[in-house]
Symmetry: C2
Subunit: 426 residues, 2 copies
Amino acid sequence: MPTPGPMPTPTPGALRTVDEHLAGCLAAVDVLAPVDVALADALDLLLAEPVRSALDLPRFDNSAMDGYAVRLADVAGAAPGTPVALPVRGDVAAGAAAVPPLAAGTAVRIMTGAPLPSGTEAVVPVEWTDARTDTVTITRAPDPGQFLRHAGEDVRDGEEVLAAGIRLAPRHLALLAAVGRATVSVHPRPRVVVISSGSELTPAGEPLPPGHIHDSNGPGLVAAARDLGSPARHAGIVADDADAVRAALADAAAHADLVVTSGGVSAGAYDTVKAVLRDLGGVTFTKVAMQPGMPQGFGTLAAPDGRAVPVFTLPGNPVSSLVSFEVFVRPVLRRLAGEATLHRPAVPAVAGASWSSPAGRRQFVRATLAPGPDGGPPVAMPVGGQGSHLVADLAAADCLVVVPDAVTAVAAGSPVTCLPLERGRR
Amino acid sequence: MPTPGPMPTPTPGALRTVDEHLAGCLAAVDVLAPVDVALADALDLLLAEPVRSALDLPRFDNSAMDGYAVRLADVAGAAPGTPVALPVRGDVAAGAAAVPPLAAGTAVRIMTGAPLPSGTEAVVPVEWTDARTDTVTITRAPDPGQFLRHAGEDVRDGEEVLAAGIRLAPRHLALLAAVGRATVSVHPRPRVVVISSGSELTPAGEPLPPGHIHDSNGPGLVAAARDLGSPARHAGIVADDADAVRAALADAAAHADLVVTSGGVSAGAYDTVKAVLRDLGGVTFTKVAMQPGMPQGFGTLAAPDGRAVPVFTLPGNPVSSLVSFEVFVRPVLRRLAGEATLHRPAVPAVAGASWSSPAGRRQFVRATLAPGPDGGPPVAMPVGGQGSHLVADLAAADCLVVVPDAVTAVAAGSPVTCLPLERGRR
């Protein structure tokens, strides 16, 4: 434990509003530069290039069925009562490189997807034949061109097959592979490194020394970033030691597109994250008019490669930490990923109980949403206590009720706005 | 290329319905046995155990603020005009193991989350003081118990904090960490191995030999499984060679909870997957009354550890392959993962055009959904051609229109049922 310095003098002053703080955070970031990734890593990412095919699809004329390539004149009138027998002069499998031409008065056996012999006018499916390989007897005449697939009928060489900006679904990845693309340019999801700060923290699964608690913000914040599709990593717990905090921040900045710390940023004498970042510069510490989550910090860290890496310093209370992630970090991560929609959709509801809200602060109330009576709007019922240390009550909630800054009392039955805490990726 | 055998004699017979085939597939599988995973791997999985806390939360009485622990009598009447000065006799940081008792007539400096000195009756926030460390001057009196957090007020030792069956969100993982759990029992998502079968296939990114096409089913099916949260791997392309197919299937079964092959299962002479699995036994090949996707195979492979691993043999045409995944593989993967909802939600729409559908077959028409006029139901407009080789048209679709087996004509403006092809995980 380091020797504590004096407690910082409290600075009353005006609080920043949630909207002011968020606007400042968003203004500091832009979509990450596109990267080429393998198709296997591109699912669900936003395409950063228009993709043109460099080949026809199908690439060559081929058979739509397992059967026999024929000329129309040779099978005209084939029917159960008047079968036509043709000598089979060759066999074309899918993938065949050398394809024999189709001589008049003969058939060539052919498989689905195999290149057509020159001269083919239709394919007779094996189901319309006796399936023999020496001489085939055909009992039904195909229409002209029947069961033929023509080069380029799906995609033309040079055609744009996918527009920039689409979200890559499995069917898009199948198309990219079909046109020969092994890699594709996408907007990457920001790499996130999470640092848990505090000498009182012990990882879950290890015995708790006296006075210690388990670190819950590390696992929670990493999961919140992963829920948005970000590759996120927990750098672990860093004690209240300036050298350790400085080293952890430097390592995080080197490997991240965004760094999130929790703890060490309020008014305490041991708030080392704040002290170190004040020394380094680049981060502004702010009191935001919200409950929970008042002490906020945002800015940039200098990475060794010269990048200015955005950093959020979130409060250490677990509820404050996850609510701050929702309100500030989530929109910034989505902007970095190139997403058009930054915020969770807001849902109108009615309050299921009455409660008070601090004047001049935006309140985020943990609540559960239940269907409303008679098909009316859903009912938002606050969950247990609202202390920012009550992680079980946070876990029991499935939405946040957003109470506007000027409102000091919410009456049961009055309209409220909710942010359902559903999966974050969409 | 192996020497082709005779073409199998076609067996007309009755087709199985989609519902019959799906019911057979679902009846053959059950939810995978729960596994213990690290919290970092548990996001979005279904909890397989009720979780009880083995400790109180908070674990010990602690301070809700950075400030000074006091006795009420010592600060009664403190106000800006009548400040109270108390000697500061100690300093408690969060994580402190040894906490001095609070003597009457003194204050102890204390940080948020730090254990309370015995005798503490309230905490005075630093904002109500001059923040000094020798003698502190206090200008506001706290209420009894103010800014104290009490052991067990969030969670009691032994209390159930999460019920079995919930889907683990970030806030649940934070709670699990807070109660000390480093691992948790969950229903795992099935491991999927995908095999692309066909001597005509070349991976995307490699030059195409004559007669070859790029494998699009491998990347598409792997992505479709990952879209459901499954760890999925592409075992690569296997040529039409019985030994190679046998080896690939054996290796896949050893490492998968479900194997998916594409290609090699229709009526062709080179359909090696079908030939090998007919030899091995355990897989039934079926003609299903659907368009696209008629030739289907499902059964089990014997893994070296004795498990019977479900295997789907999907048709090789890319549209048939992905539609078959949607219709048959997706519900089976969700049942293996323990999900209650197996199917995509169906959306009512109206047909944006007229088209025909084969008698006695369920048709899955690739289409786009657009908002309906005047707030009416959305309009489903078929996309381009419906040939099962048209992968660009598949990619352009965002839903499948499901035309019932008995319907042979869909009229523009008539009601239809759609399956939107949105992200699969929920």
